[in-house]
Symmetry: C2
Subunit: 242 residues, 2 copies
């Protein structure tokens, strides 16, 4: 009886659009940034460098959210943070060209191993878009390099607001002329999912235990408030019948 | 000598991003709209209906450009125009659901026969995006139905300006952090290409002689100001060495 009810319920409520958080959910930023900085300077502790760069992410976006900075693309925010940590890692002697190259390491991140196969299955029944604070160019370059089969690249840049601003989650629904409940946010971060849920979206939590590196696995325990909880994109495709 | 010079020149100047006009260039709106209205009401002259609907396009966008209307997505402009012509074609008895369905016929247009194969070849060496006055949802639904392999869906909706506003052409270059000359607009309309050229973009004219139907072939003669002139997307792929 439970199975039947679940089946009919999940058919009735099947989301038309799946909107994906990207950094941490789709791509492994920790390994990717560590690899790129070590290619430039093998003596640097790549993992610590990646964590330090990422640690500047929320506070720097907060400067935009608060109005201290006008609208600024993530490429430029990444550069602001980078310039602030180079000295701590003995990298202040990098040339401008090397700094620019390193800053675009965020365009060259690799997806987790399940991602391309999972998205390919999910795409058969759903419209797949990004919903990331990354800028459109960054997300498009990343997708082209990594073979991510998005139907559409949506971004904070389209809505001129960073997540968790409701304008981003509701913006996806409005873009496709759908009710919020016809959209599902897929993310590895409970705070992102909570903000989407507050806007009426469905939510799917993806376990990415090693987002911050193998040395510090994160808590991936389920929150029953999410519509779905899946180990990875293949498991989500199983759950959604793709 | 000429051949050698041309080869090296075209390598040096190869555009990184190809931005495509969509209605008329990628998809055959005339046949598609005619087919959809005739499916609803076989007695209607589908070709005349398609021309009448499209004829409202520029004047209605002009109401947005002039500031008379605030920013309005093309889906809503299409509906304004549709409501204005229904009576002329004896269609004012359509139900609201039928009108909504018909209005989304622009999401269900078929590509010209060379398009999917041509884009697939062009995608191997270039980033492919739309640059259309269509809204993001319309363009994404169209691409998913027709199998158009865009790397990114850009639109007037992203830039909050309709072509030929320079903000749209320059917006593509800025999105990808490129100089305007590293972007090529691909279109079947000389006015669109001229506006892009004025912003410093490369331009490729595509012959779509039957854009307005087989009964009224349009002038497709070359303008030497364009960087390229190609019969269709396969010929453009040949010219760009894809």
């Amino acid at each position: 009886m439970k199975t039947l009810w679940n089946n009919s319920d999940s058919q009735a409520d099947a989301p038309q659009v799946l909107a994906f958080d990207v950094f941490g959910t789709v791509v492994d930023w920790h390994s990717g940034i560590a690899r790129e900085v070590q290619a430039l300077r093998p003596s640097v502790d790549g993992g610590s460098f990646a964590l330090a760069w990422r640690a500047g992410y929320q506070p720097t976006m907060q400067r935009v959210r608060s109005g201290e900075l006008g609208w600024t693309r993530l490429d430029e925010l990444h550069r602001l943070i980078l310039d602030g940590i180079l000295k701590d890692f003995g990298l202040d002697d990098l040339s401008e060209a090397q700094k620019q190259h390193l800053n675009k390491a965020w365009h060259r991140l690799d997806p987790w191993s399940d991602v391309v196969a999972g998205l390919t299955r999910l795409k058969t029944r759903h419209t797949l878009c990004t919903l990331s604070n990354g800028n459109i160019g960054l997300l498009t370059n990343m997708a082209k390099r990594a073979g991510l089969p998005w139907d559409c690249v949506l971004s904070a840049e389209v809505f001129r607001a960073y997540k968790p601003d409701p304008a981003t989650y509701l913006g996806v629904a409005q873009t496709f002329d759908l009710a919020p409940a016809q959209v599902m946010l897929v993310a590895a971060h409970q705070d992102d999912l909570a903000a989407a849920r507050a806007c009426g979206l469905q939510t799917a939590y993806i376990e990415r235990a090693f987002e911050f590196g193998r040395a510090q696995p994160k808590d991936v325990s389920p929150n029953p408030a999410n519509t779905r909880h899946a180990r990875d994109f293949l498991a989500l495709a199983d759950q959604l019948g793709c």
